[in-house]
């Protein structure tokens, strides 16, 4: 598992003084906060390791102690340092950003879009965590009530996209390790780290032999190829069948259900119906 070796090397380099522990800001934009929850599920390394050995997490609404103006001031302070910006959720900038507020400071409301814009100008690297931040995702599902767009489109610049609904913590951890180690992540034309998004789920599916022999499941709960009940594995580049989910113990197809394409740029409008009967 090359990504595990990469993380290990990044940590060794920090210990040897060859790589500096960099500050990290994690912003929660319009979404379900499922990416930070997914990240808390990280295993080997886990979040404690991440916090103690890999980065200085300076801002995270879910984890930080401070609140209110003090929290916002802590955010502003990091902007004068070297830091990585991670954003989960899509960006809503409609009606002056009214649909997602980051903070109220000295009586003034700071929209999340504005805070992201501010931080992006000084960040050493920017990561879109999850499908909403990467491509708009479910937050931008038709009729897109809050005018959500991806982080890259909002900023008008290239960012590293780690799609997945939510993003798999293995992919996020590996990408951050790569930034720490190489100061650069190899990405594809959609900004996705090649090490996790090189091939489709279909290519590496353990049920591929059923597909090749045209043996198909007729409903959920069956053991054969899920393509006839809606599987989006062929249009979904991701690392699910190889890296699996949670502590690398399972993935949706192994639970006898179709891949719904949650890591694809077409999710969700272009990957409907999820279940086809």
């Amino acid at each position: 598992m090359h990504e595990r070796k990469l993380i290990k090397r990044a940590i060794e380099d920090i210990h040897n003084g060859e790589a500096k522990k960099i500050n990290f800001i994690w912003i929660e934009a319009n979404g379900c906060m499922g990416n930070i929850i997914s990240f808390l599920n990280a295993d080997k390394p886990d979040v404690v390791y991440f916090l103690e050995e890999m980065v200085n997490l300076k801002f995270s609404p879910s984890l930080m102690q401070a609140q209110g103006e003090v929290a916002y001031e802590e955010f502003l302070e990091v902007l004068n340092t070297d830091f990585i910006l991670g954003v989960e959720g899509a960006i809503t900038n409609m009606d002056e950003g009214f649909y997602n507020i980051f903070a109220t400071y000295k009586g003034i409301r700071v929209p999340t879009a504005e805070a992201i814009n501010l931080a992006s100008k000084k960040a050493k690297a920017i990561i879109a965590i999850g499908t909403c931040a990467s491509f708009g995702g479910i937050s931008a599902a038709r009729p897109n009530p809050t005018g959500c767009i991806s982080l890259g489109n909002f900023l008008g610049r290239e960012v590293i996209n780690i799609p997945g609904c939510p993003a798999n913590p293995l992919w996020v951890m590996g990408t951050i390790a790569s930034i720490i180690l190489h100061k650069k992540v190899e990405i594809d034309e959609k900004g996705r780290p090649i090490m996790f998004f090189k091939e489709s789920n279909h290519t590496n599916c353990p049920r591929r032999s059923y597909f090749d022999n045209k043996v198909y499941a007729g409903k959920l709960g069956e053991k054969e190829c899920m393509i006839k009940v809606g599987c989006k594995g062929p249009i979904t580049k991701a690392y699910c069948p190889l890296g699996l989910w949670n502590s690398r113990i399972n993935w949706p197809v192994e639970a006898n259900t179709p891949c719904i394409g949650c890591a694809s740029e077409f999710f969700p409008d272009g990957s409907e119906p999820f279940v086809k009967y």
């Binding site: 499922g34 609404p61 984890l63 102690q65 399972n250 639970a255 999820f274 009967y277």
Partner: protein, 466 residues
């Protein structure tokens, strides 16, 4: 003279929340709970394939997605007249229980511990009045780290059943999609064993330590005494596995839940509706961000026209499992004790899960149908009212637990549960009103969605449960 204080963001909750209070001398005289995020899921659901509602609505919430998937499945089973498979119901209830455990561990240890104890791993500094001795501070710091491990284990349970977590695939219409065998059952049992040990020993001990050092929190942040639950594990055939029945406690009277008594007001919410609507309403609300007086995207659900509290404390009282009072600390205490109780129930459920393949059908969508899904998520009463027309979703009315707890004022001037819990609270230091964050977090807000114990503290709460 009154002082206005706004705390925004309220951190260590799910999603963006702004709390505005007015303080006269040292007492909160007015409070506004502002859900400052809008996503519009009900609009998005129109025209979508009905079965997709299960995986689609999971995305409303990153921390309680299994609850949305389950309630969406219940609504579809009701609409499609499907009798779910008995083994499948046990398996998905077990997965739902694991989602509760994940929530309880993360809420209490990761979100709430830093309110009362200096947690060194947690980023930043809060400037709170930490009171615990060095020994106990060290213990709770260790348990913070242990909670990260055990909450991950709780999501492993869901992943084993549903493929991944958050946003699993295995909880579905008809029960579950996942096959059960002896190897999987014993694996689930061993994981639950580890969680149960942490929850029943470490967490129960920890919350008692915190309660001991902060006893005044049994006196503040009470709010409305009306309680509501849509039930949990009430569809289990074996009575021993049931936990709480759909029920209410309104103005001193306990009664079975009547879903027709639920209404929703938008009088002070950024929506065009001005009169309270029935639940379900027949169309999603249009936003109106210029509406005079409005201050939140959260609506105000009411039961028989009354404000009600939902969540662990409501369920524990209504199931006759908790007999203390209603306060900030009681909410935390009840949440931990509920975790203990759920572990016990989940062991019983697992005993009866049979090692057999999943039973699923190829479901046919009727041209038109209506279905109701009601079940408690960890934060409280969660309902999906789904209408199907021409084979697609025509309307889906979703009323979330946080709407119950964090609702704004309604057209009658009644404050929501959190607002009423804040009003009347004495603030020790107006420059650092730490009481507010503590009261808010005891409700475990989730804006993305809406948006044995020591009972020696506090007064006894007398209610008779039949």
């Amino acid at each position: 003279m009154t002082t206005k204080i706004t705390i925004d963001p309220i951190t260590r909750i799910m999603g963006p929340l702004s709390i505005e209070v007015e303080i006269k001398k040292d007492k909160i005289v007015d409070a506004k709970s502002g859900g400052i995020q809008f996503r519009g899921f009900e609009k998005m659901l129109i025209g979508r394939p009905p079965l997709d509602a299960v995986y689609f609505t999971e995305r409303i919430c990153g921390i309680c997605s299994t609850s949305h998937g389950l309630v969406a499945s219940l609504a579809l089973e009701d609409a499609l007249k499907i009798n779910p498979n008995e083994n499948g119901v046990k398996v998905r209830n077990f997965a739902h229980g694991a989602e509760y455990l994940q929530n309880i561990m993360r809420q209490i240890c990761i979100f709430v511990f830093p309110d009362y104890v200096n947690i060194t791993v947690a980023p930043g500094n809060a400037g709170y009045d930490f009171r615990l001795s060095e020994k106990y501070t060290e213990k709770i710091n260790k348990d913070y780290v242990k909670a990260l491990e055990c909450s991950r284990l709780a999501h492993e349970i869901i992943a084993l059943i549903g493929g991944k977590a958050p946003h699993n695939h295995g909880v579905f219409v008809g029960g579950t999609t996942s096959n059960m065998d002896a190897s999987k059952i014993i694996r689930l049992k061993s994981i639950l064993h580890s969680i149960s040990e942490f929850m029943c020993e470490n967490m129960v001990y920890d919350i008692n330590i915190i309660a001991h050092y902060y006893p005044e929190y049994f006196k503040i942040g009470g709010g409305t005494k009306n309680l509501l639950t849509y039930g949990l594990f009430h569809d289990m055939h074996n009575k021993e596995m049931q936990y709480v029945q759909p029920s209410s406690y309104i103005d001193g009277e306990v009664a079975t839940l009547d879903p027709k008594s639920i209404t929703e007001s938008s009088a002070f919410s950024w929506y065009k509706d001005s009169v309270p609507s029935e639940v379900p309403s027949n169309h999603p609300s249009e936003t109106d961000i210029k509406k005079p007086g409005a201050y939140t995207f959260i609506k105000a659900p009411r039961y028989k026209g009354k404000v009600a509290q939902v969540g662990p404390l409501a369920r524990m009282i209504l199931s006759g499992s908790y007999k203390n009072s209603i306060s900030t600390m009681d909410r935390l205490m009840a949440r931990v004790l509920e975790g203990k109780k759920l572990c016990e129930k989940m062991f019983l459920i697992l005993e009866e899960v049979e090692p057999i393949p999943a039973v699923q059908d190829k479901y046919t969508i009727p041209d038109s149908a209506q279905g109701i899904g009601l079940c408690d998520a960890v934060r409280g009463a969660l309902g999906h009212w789904t209408t199907i027309e021409k084979g697609v979703i025509k309307n889906c009315d979703i009323v979330t637990p946080t709407a119950w707890n964090l609702s704004p004022i309604d057209e009658l001037g009644q404050h929501g549960a959190l607002e009423s819990a804040l009003i009347g609270t004495q603030i020790q230091n107006i420059k650092n009103p730490i009481e507010i964050g503590r009261i808010v977090r005891s409700f475990d807000p989730c804006i993305s969605c809406a948006t044995h114990v020591n009972t020696e503290y506090g007064e006894t709460y007398h209610i008779n449960i039949t």
